[in-house]
Symmetry: C2
Subunit: 496 residues, 2 copies
């Protein structure tokens, strides 16, 4: 049984039965039975399926936002925007599929020394999706992972997140109905609940891939579990990271403005973003920590966390950072209702940032660390010990390269450590577009070349198959001579 | 110390010192130091580097073939062809890099709701390459993995294969000289020797990815080792598989011809191909095992294996297959000189093919299993228990779909289990072209979407980075507005 609790007051608001092992096995079996039909459906038709899901989300927005707010305390404004974004994502991934580049079709005509080869990316099969607590719509039941997997032609079985379990079930109910009415085969989508159901899902023989958004602890546990299967399957775990911000020496005068922006970014959504900037590296001698502390006091956030354990972890995390050598320099105390948590700015000396230190790890919540560096040699040393992150931000003197001599090497250094480099732009928002990359070096993601947001998100759920000397009629539609799906192709190495 | 032994007579022909831990650390450190410069070099310039390596291979072909034959007993004809192919591969991957699609450049111009994003695939950094014993040129020191990693902009450190250790060192010597003369930075390429050197390489902090070709045992050991690193890195292990061949009921009359082709394919290179077809599934009642046994006797191969352990493993493998329920139906006994091994055809009943059976695993060498199926229900059941393979072959009645009712579902079934489906064409050869896929579901490869041959081989060694609101001059050349490298790009979702 999973209990639904409101973070506003900590009170129970209902409960949902956990799925039995038989129910999980049944969901997975039905997904596997639907896989071939989903895979061979023209992406333009799957576009209609996803559009139907998007439309039902929009039609039920008020009801869904109210339910989500009761379970997450993220507020009506933010949640209303998130529903609209989630509907947009569903249509975006479907459009990417319809465009067809994700199919990677390549045709080599036969030569005297090489046979005819047709290469087509094919859907992997049923995908298990583990959504995040912090985005109950955009990264959950019908979020980026589900939308991109369905768009790529894979059935999806979602594990409901316990932090919004009633919302998860309502979303699944709406999606199942919309998909059926749009003509998707039974088994295309299902939802299961409960911790054991998640374990059963990852170890089910029929599951071909796992997508996860959440903590390092949770993501790595699933990754290890999948690696112990007889038939190992890929796990695409996108996990929380530190997301460093560097203010260059030449940008010291921009610190007051940067401090305010930094506070706005690390307290957004109560600091519960995987792209939260958790570390500000500022040139010494400009009182950066004080500026950030003052900006925090001025902003006066009142964080209410998603769950009781998350709220408790904020306080524990601050204690751990202090134990690792940091000092609290600014704090907005926690409120008294529900899962309230403090917002905290800490400072640490650069030489405390050494491999293995807690200071190099994420602290979920509205908590950030400010570190002053004394010269670029020290800055280089500090950057060198950082773990991989989803995003890294540079605050440079200006956009004119010649005016900030450190910006070019800093951009290159950050590019080696993160999946997205932003300059003068906060990393918290993640646009769903063609050029997006939301994933980075270990341990930001378990598959460093994968993204969970943007057009390339579909690539996680396909696998190329080459057809050698196979008669045209037996090649999948995307690779047939007549090109019935109208997809871009490369013929003898030349793009069409 | 690694001893070089000739398979022809089993006698020692010299020895090579193993690399010390310091030598491995030094090679890796120099690779890491070169990484940024290699990455930022225009692929058209890297093309010149790889061309220089190809040219030196061609110029030293006679010497290299003689040395390789002494260490591998693969014969001058085959090895001369393999040197030419390897030179061709080096130029092919360089051309793929120069074409630029592998960089995956996408540019989203800013909108009122989304920032400017530029996405570029960037080289991962130093790659550790573990070559195969069975292709001393094409899948070894300067083979597909090394060529595609260098083409993609990654320095390479190769672990020498003990089965051709003197050749490995000579190849490294030639390549190092050619790269230096062509202007590649010091550290772009290195070779290390010895078992411990391989372990040190995979666990070295600076190594960003591992590419391996060889046995399941070896590949999975490296995969586990890399998964235990603090900073886990991807392992692209391409491993030996069973590569099933299915003769449809309607193609029963083609069995005599198929039997001869099957023997030619599974004895090629003394049965030491990862694409060796190891299992023939034939309709019952046509004496398929007898036809294959007769074809084997007529072909009268005289296998000489690469190493003493491999030769011994052939005999052990045959014993294991017999123990698992198979019967020897044809055999050409082993010769008496060097690492000679028998060529063997076995038969088993379809109901002996159950999960976990040794009959479902590869037996390296000129050994194959024939299984008769009684109707398509039994065929479906057998196919369902097969492990993932690199390739799967269908022998159909004809190329006219209507004339072989089982071909369409069999092509689809095989496509779900392998990386390459061939129809009426043996799987042993693997062309290096744009549409090739040499990799398949677990346990054929540790990364089921990756290929170690063909244009997409480069994709293993890059990782996308998105540049958000980054001034043009600080974006890597491939993503800059002026497009100095002249690469294909997608702007606002539209391919150019």
């Amino acid at each position: 049984m999973t209990t639904s609790v409101s973070p506003y007051d900590g009170r129970e608001r209902g409960e949902v039965a956990d799925s039995t092992p038989d129910e999980v096995a049944d969901a997975v079996r039905r997904a596997a039975a639907a896989a071939a039909q989903v895979a061979l459906t023209d992406p333009a038709v799957r576009r209609d399926w996803l559009d139907a899901v998007a439309t039902t989300l929009e039609q039920h927005s008020d009801e869904l936002v109210a339910l989500a707010d009761e379970e997450t305390a993220l507020g009506e404004t933010r949640l209303t925007g998130e529903v609209a974004r989630t509907a947009g994502q569903l249509r975006f991934y479907a459009d990417v599929a319809r465009e067809g580049s994700y199919l990677g079709v390549a045709i080599d005509r036969p030569t005297p020394t090489a046979p005819r080869l047709v290469r087509v990316n094919e859907p992997l099969g049923p995908v298990a999706v583990f959504g995040a607590s912090n985005f109950p719509f955009a990264f959950s039941v019908l979020g980026n992972d589900t939308a991109s997997a369905l768009a790529a032609g894979c059935p999806v079985v979602v594990k409901a997140h316990p932090a919004h379990v009633r919302l998860s079930h309502r979303l699944a109910e709406l999606a199942t109905k919309a998909l059926a009415e749009a003509g998707a085969p039974e088994g295309t989508f299902a939802l299961v609940s409960g911790h054991q159901a998640g374990v059963d899902l990852v170890t089910a023989e029929e599951i071909a891939a796992v997508a996860f958004t959440g903590s390092q602890q949770g993501g790595l546990a699933l990754w290890r579990l999948a690696n112990e299967r007889a038939h190992v399957v890929p796990v695409f775990a996108e996990m929380g990271t530190v997301n460093p911000v560097v203010v260059t020496p030449a940008a010291a005068s921009r610190l007051p403005e940067a401090a305010a922006g930094f506070v706005g970014s690390f307290t957004l959504g109560h600091g519960q973003f995987c792209t939260k900037p958790g570390l500000l590296l500022a040139p010494a001698g400009h009182d950066a920590a004080r500026l950030v502390a003052d900006a925090l006091t001025a902003a006066a956030p009142a964080p209410v966390m998603l769950t009781a354990p998350i709220a408790k972890a904020v306080a524990v995390g601050v204690e751990d950072l202090v134990h690792a050598g940091a000092t609290v320099v600014g704090e907005v105390p926690a409120g008294t209702e529900g899962f309230a948590a403090p917002a905290v700015v800490l400072a640490a000396r650069a030489d405390a940032l050494v491999p293995g230190s807690r200071l190099l790890e994420e602290c979920f919540g509205a908590v950030a660390l400010v570190v002053e560096y004394d010269g670029t040699d020290e800055l280089r040393r500090v950057l060198d010990v950082l773990q991989g992150s989803l995003a890294g931000t540079l605050i440079a003197a200006s956009e004119h390269p010649a005016e900030d001599p450190d910006a070019p090497w800093l951009v290159r250094t950050l590019a080696g450590q993160v999946g997205r480099v932003t300059v003068g732009d906060w990393p918290t928002g993640v646009a769903y577009t063609w050029a997006q990359q939301h994933g980075g070096p270990w341990p930001a993601t378990s598959a460093p070349a994968a993204t969970s947001v943007g057009a390339a998100a579909l690539d996680r759920f396909v696998r190329p198959v080459a057809y050698q000397s196979v008669p045209d009629a037996w090649v999948p539609p995307a690779g047939q001579d007549a090109n019935p799906w109208g997809v871009p192709r490369r013929v003898d190495g030349v793009r069409s």
